[in-house]
Symmetry: C2
Subunit: 176 residues, 2 copies
DNA sequence: TAGAACGTTTAGTTGTTACTAAACAAAGTA
DNA sequence: TACTTTGTTTAGTAACAACTAAACGTTCTA
């Protein structure tokens, strides 16, 4: 492979690595996905080792995460004991999977604790003076509403599915 | 302050701390914001030290980040050398500020490098075989389009502004 | 001018995370 | 059975991020 080809691909791989780490995932995960994404054929674990420079162990764990999130798919070939992997190309599908993955996690738990605070305030718990209770209730409720709105938005994204950019553009127009 | 009151507030503070760290910010930042958010009056740095348990240094740096992101506002009192801070209560405003902050950062840079890859492929750089070039171009373009869509969505969020939940609900209905 | 009140900066500590290297397990093949 | 091929798990490492404690620089006040 010529130097220029390698460099173009390398640049792409590094770009996805950066995006990955930006969103709080390991840089290696981004690299693995990138390599698979620009590969015409599914790759084995050893091919991934070769093309990413990571070790088998790292590939093994990152590949598992990627598969769990639906960003890549395992491909098994009959009579071949190796595992192969290919990238998922429907990003909306992937996003839905990622959001689902992240749900039920610390985030939802944290949001729940805010809601809990609200209901305690509303049900009269705690020896708050009337004015203080009113103040706190209003603030915490506003925050809780805000989380609800965010929730709606993320589930909207989940539903974008195969609709693609056209739909999003439409939505944007509606939002003026 | 009675134990129950303290506990309710503490629960709220811990909730926001969790949310903060979930989104990749220091836990302390969430705690500081939480304390300010449920305070009827602006608080000084020392009051924040007292109520969060963090040290002055930590408060100092975190408060600066929060202010830069527009999540809190400095309040100066005439004839008082202390700095006071109050929470921003318009979350949509805050989100817009945060997105703006995060932009021009690693993320945009990374996305740019993907776009760069695309334009190199399209302009015929690199000694790719025709079929390989077509394949790569298609894949990288799909990814680039996807980022554009995400971009549109985030700027849509920015624009939600004071519209609130009602608008979002409307959008959701349109998305079916 | 000395000292106090504040906020910032710095050095050092702690905890976390993604990784490597290597041991290990499982399953096929000679 | 022994050996090979494959993937997983574990122990250790290096880098990093958030924090504490304390030194520091300013600005106000006596």
């Amino acid at each position: 492979m010529t130097d220029e080809k390698t460099q173009i691909k390398q640049n792409f791989i590094e770009g996805l690595s950066g995006i990955s780490s930006f969103w709080g995932f390991p840089k290696g995960m981004g690299a693995i996905f990138a390599v698979l994404y620009i590969s015409p054929a599914p790759l084995s674990l050893d091919e991934l080792v070769e093309q990413t420079g990571l070790t088998k162990g790292a590939i093994s764990t990152n590949v598992r995460s990627l598969a769990r999130m639906g960003l890549i798919r395992p491909v098994t070939r009959l009579g071949d004991r190796k595992d192969y992997y290919e990238a998922e190309t429907d990003f909306y599908k992937s996003i839905r999977a990622i959001l689902k993955e992240r749900q039920n996690s610390e985030f939802d738990q944290a949001v729940a604790s805010v809601r809990e605070t609200l209901s305690k305030l509303e049900s009269g718990q705690g020896a708050f003076a009337p004015a203080e209770r009113a103040f706190l209730t209003e603030r915490v409720r506003a925050l809780s509403d805000f989380f609800s709105a965010l929730d709606s938005l993320t589930s909207a994204i989940s539903r974008l599915d195969g609709l693609g950019i056209g739909t999003i553009q439409t939505v944007l127009k509606i939002l003026k």
